[in-house]
Symmetry: C2
Subunit: 209 residues, 2 copies
């Protein structure tokens, strides 16, 4: 149904705009906007307003570049957090994922992506310069790479590590670390891929009973 006729131009435009969202086809878009038509007008107004407010008023923290309502985000502004450790992540979702573990009490640095020549994303498209500058100021003791365990993530880790080494800080001053890679908690070894399983043997840790 490529040349589907919409009974209304307003409907057609709403479907066109909605179907620009990732993963939303024209059929889903039609279903979504017709849902809004069945609901109270207040719901549509609240949705539109929330999107406009977010798009127009949201800020990015001037230190870690995470999404924030203020110039400095809540995490960077929180004096109880360990200000000597930076966890490098790709995006906002990954900050939320690490925060949800409750296992990290340091600061973040949101790159806004990873180096991916295939997608035309180079180091200058990411917040790498500002990370190097933060570390160069001398107060950071550890940088934890928490990018996705993919080729692009690994490339980005490597690039950043080279840039940090080039800072020529006293060799013992900044520790670089990366998330442990190994079998997932609850997983079945039979179905764990061999690279991950191999890595979990090489990186085995002392057994604690």
């Amino acid at each position: 149904m490529i040349n589907q006729q919409y009974p209304s131009k307003l409907l057609e435009r709403a479907v066109s705009e909605t179907s620009k969202l990732p993963g939303v086809g024209r059929k889903s878009a039609l279903r979504l906007v017709l849902h809004l038509l069945r609901k109270d007008a207040a719901q549509t107004h609240a949705l539109a307003d929330s999107l406009l407010r977010l798009r127009d008023d949201v800020k990015f923290c001037k230190y870690c570049h995470n999404i924030s309502d203020t110039e400095v985000c809540d995490i960077c502004a929180d004096q109880r957090r360990d200000r000597s450790t930076i966890c490098v992540v790709e995006n906002v979702q990954n900050v939320m994922a690490v925060e949800a573990t409750g296992q990290f009490k340091g600061l973040y640095h949101v790159l806004g992506g990873v180096i991916s020549p295939m997608d035309g994303i180079g180091p200058n498209d990411l917040q790498i310069e500002s990370l190097v500058k933060r570390v160069g100021e001398g107060a950071i003791k550890e940088v934890i790479f928490a990018l996705n365990p993919t080729m692009e993530g690994d490339t980005t880790n490597f690039y950043i590590s080279r840039r940090l080494q080039a800072l020529d800080l006293p060799s013992t001053s900044v520790k670089l670390s990366v998330l442990a890679r190994g079998v997932c908690v609850g997983d079945d070894l039979e179905y764990t891929d061999e690279v991950t399983l191999g890595r979990s043997i090489v990186d085995r840790v002392a057994f604690k009973s």
Copy 2:
């Protein structure tokens, strides 16, 4: 991740509003709104505006109740269409589906749902009264029931047929018909359910070579 902390109230509100849409969870909503943040602000403005315009300005045709930009929809206003035949459908999508076949040149009547006691939807929640009135005016020669072939659709067909019979029009004046039920074009008989296959045998038609 039930108690996920959003780094921004604006983000949290946009996610909350977006996740009220059917089939959109909080994770998908987050992905959608972050996509908008990466794109030009104009895209978000166009999306919000299109939804508001649709919700606030859209009309429903005073004859067939289909979505329309005008008091009378394009189909009802089109004098080339057969004004003696009404195709009864559940919703806008089904008007579009029938139109896309190019096989129907009459008018529509959009009920806005089907009778479903389970969902608390009775005849008075639907545009049945106005259909009975349209037919009662005497110019209609055929009413085609094109509701989904479900229990609710069949119940609604039955209810409407009773209401139309109660109009006490000359018995030959209005023909009631329903979409043929049978095997789908391109389907494999082995996987056609027995009710449909049985129906296709009972309702077999003359073979045309």
